[in-house]
């Protein structure tokens, strides 16, 4: 038996492929071909990420059709539209990439839950139940989950469009309306905090990494891939039980500034801070930052990438990046904290880049088989082409070991027994080992 097990262990294969073709069908075929050509066995699962561009170049249905022309029937497939990705070949904000694993000592299941903005709890429960039931009889003891959720959508308002700063009186009406339209029309916050809370509760003995799908950072639409389906407003997950080991680590590159603020009134599922220490939130924020009102322009989002407002949940830092200013409210993509101190942290290009090295330095490389990384799209937007420096660090670390990084619009991390966290501006690595 021991001999057989050792032989099995030799059979782990990991592969990363990609396509830069424009035509959706051809790109689907190529990303699958380039991935599977590196495997001898059938894939246990296929993780697929694509930028939004295929929507206008044939559509995501065609893209998936291309993939399934190559991918063996019934391979568990999940994925979605992302801001960008990195792999052993480079760093891209256009194209598609996939990670596939072939390994005998692994049982795999995928799950889905719908209408995440309307009822995130129900969606997460549905998704978790599918995986829990499917893997119940597996004898492997190590449990891992990758979750992919639908991110928030910035509302397109008649006469206003998709502005990031709305200081007029109309803002108050809009904020009230958003509370209801979010549920009815599924526009507004993605409510991913609630999803990771349920997933980690239902699958408490799993370690989890994940993130949200998006478009090209315009926050207008996003798609999830589940088997042969292209979905919206859904949570999908890939769970597996195995004898593989892994290590999961998050870093930020953020430094505390000492500027603290205590939100006293929140709304929009706690994603919008209406008051800070009982003053209108925007005025209080500008005062604490020492900024003038004219900094609140359409470039404000890009500026505040370097000043996220953070709180601690358990041992983890939870940064929040300012998404919108609506009248007196600061609107974030994920939950803020009411009646507890939040602190402004600062980032610089070099601190963001150094945090990647700090993260990877924590890992041993012996028996490392493949890596999966979820990084925030805010880091990509903040670093621009300096992201290639990040790629250089990562590539030097993995060398010929396959890795895939996707840029998410918010990241999920849960280590079994610890507090689940929804993060922004984070860099999260999970490395898988055969030991």
């Amino acid at each position: 038996m021991v001999v057989n097990k050792a032989m099995d262990k030799l059979k782990l294969e990991a592969a990363v492929g990609m396509s830069r073709k424009w035509d959706a069908r051809e790109a689907g075929r190529e990303v699958a071909e380039s991935t599977l050509s590196k495997l001898n066995g059938n894939p246990n699962f296929f993780l697929l990420f694509s930028t939004i561009h295929y929507e206008k170049h044939g559509g995501f249905e065609e893209f998936l059709k291309g993939v399934w022309e190559i991918l063996p029937e019934s391979t568990p497939l999940i994925g979605g539209s992302v801001v960008g990705f990195m792999n052993n070949h480079g760093c891209y904000t256009r194209g598609s990439s996939a990670l596939a694993i072939s390994y005998p000592n692994m049982d795999v299941s995928i799950g889905v839950g719908h209408n995440t903005k309307r009822n995130p709890e129900k969606a997460a429960m549905e998704c978790a139940d599918m995986i829990k039931n499917d893997l119940e009889k597996s004898n492997y003891s190590n449990k891992f989950l990758i979750d992919i959720t639908s991110s928030g959508i910035v509302p397109n308002m008649p006469g206003i469009g998709r502005k990031k700063v709305i200081r007029s009186k109309f803002g108050d009406v809009l904020l009230k309306t958003l509370n209801t339209t979010c549920k009815r029309l599924q526009i507004g916050p993605g409510r991913e905090d609630e999803i990771i809370d349920i997933l980690s509760k239902e699958l408490s003995d799993y370690d989890i990494i994940g993130g949200s799908t998006l478009d090209d950072n315009k926050w207008e639409r996003n798609f999830q891939f589940y088997k042969k389906e292209v979905l919206t407003n859904s949570v999908i997950a890939l769970g597996f039980k195995t004898d593989l080991n892994w290590k999961l680590n998050s870093t930020f590159g953020l430094n505390p500034t000492g500027i603290k603020m205590r939100p006293s009134k929140t709304t929009l599922f706690d994603c919008a801070i209406k008051k800070i220490e009982n003053k209108p939130a925007v005025d209080a924020y500008l005062e604490k930052m020492g900024w003038s009102e004219d900094l609140l322009d359409e470039n404000m989002h890009r500026r505040t990438l370097f000043y996220p407002i953070c709180y601690k949940k358990g041992e983890m830092l939870c940064p929040r990046v300012l998404a919108l200013v609506i009248k007196d409210a600061l609107v974030f993509t994920n939950k803020a904290l009411k009646d507890k101190d939040m602190e402004v942290y600062s980032a610089s290009g070099s601190s963001l880049i150094n945090s990647v090295k700090q993260n990877l330095d924590k890992y041993e490389k012996d028996n490392l088989k493949f890596g999966f990384i979820v990084s925030c799209c805010a880091r990509l937007e903040a670093l621009g082409d300096a992201t290639f420096k990040v790629h250089e660090i990562i590539n030097n670390y993995y060398k010929n070991i396959p890795f895939l990084l996707f840029f998410a619009s918010g990241e999920d991390v849960y280590k079994s027994g610890k507090t689940p966290v929804r993060l922004n501006e984070s860099f999260n690595v999970v490395n898988f080992y055969l030991k």
Partner: protein
């Protein structure tokens, strides 16, 4: 023109929504345009093209002066547009793109850098081919 690998790189860039125009250029000279020339530029660029083109030429005098010193990138904003210059090392040439001022520039920069690398690769190939015919 349709077979020029550098033009193909430019064609790819121009397919991105926020790239309104792109070219490989030097002072007073556009060396390579996308396959369909400036017909493939997004129509909104027409209203500002003349003034941007003039401003570009002025920027190229800086490129010429400092390229050898390691100048890698430049950009300027004119009205609601930005011009991004990705300079080819030790040359007076740059890959230039015009984008809306409010575009998500971080994402565009990644594809600009990919394009610069591809153009450099194509230039090196062309140079090798020329040398082999000597």
């Amino acid at each position: 023109m349709h077979d020029d690998p550098i033009a193909i790189v430019l064609d790819d860039l121009l397919k991105l929504d926020d790239i309104l125009a792109c070219m490989v250029a030097r002072q007073n000279m556009i060396s390579v345009m996308p396959s369909d020339g400036n017909d493939s530029f997004k129509p909104e660029i027409n209203q500002i093209w003349d003034i941007i083109h003039r401003a570009m030429d002025d920027v190229f005098s800086v490129v010429r002066e400092y390229s050898q010193a390691g100048l890698g990138e430049m950009e300027f904003r004119l009205q609601d547009y930005e011009a991004l210059f990705y300079i080819f090392p030790d040359t007076e040439n740059a890959l230039v793109a015009i984008v809306p001022a409010l575009a998500n520039k971080g994402l565009i920069e990644v594809e600009m850098e990919n394009a610069r690398r591809e153009v450099l690769g194509a230039m090196n190939e062309q140079e090798k081919a020329q040398l082999s015919t000597l």
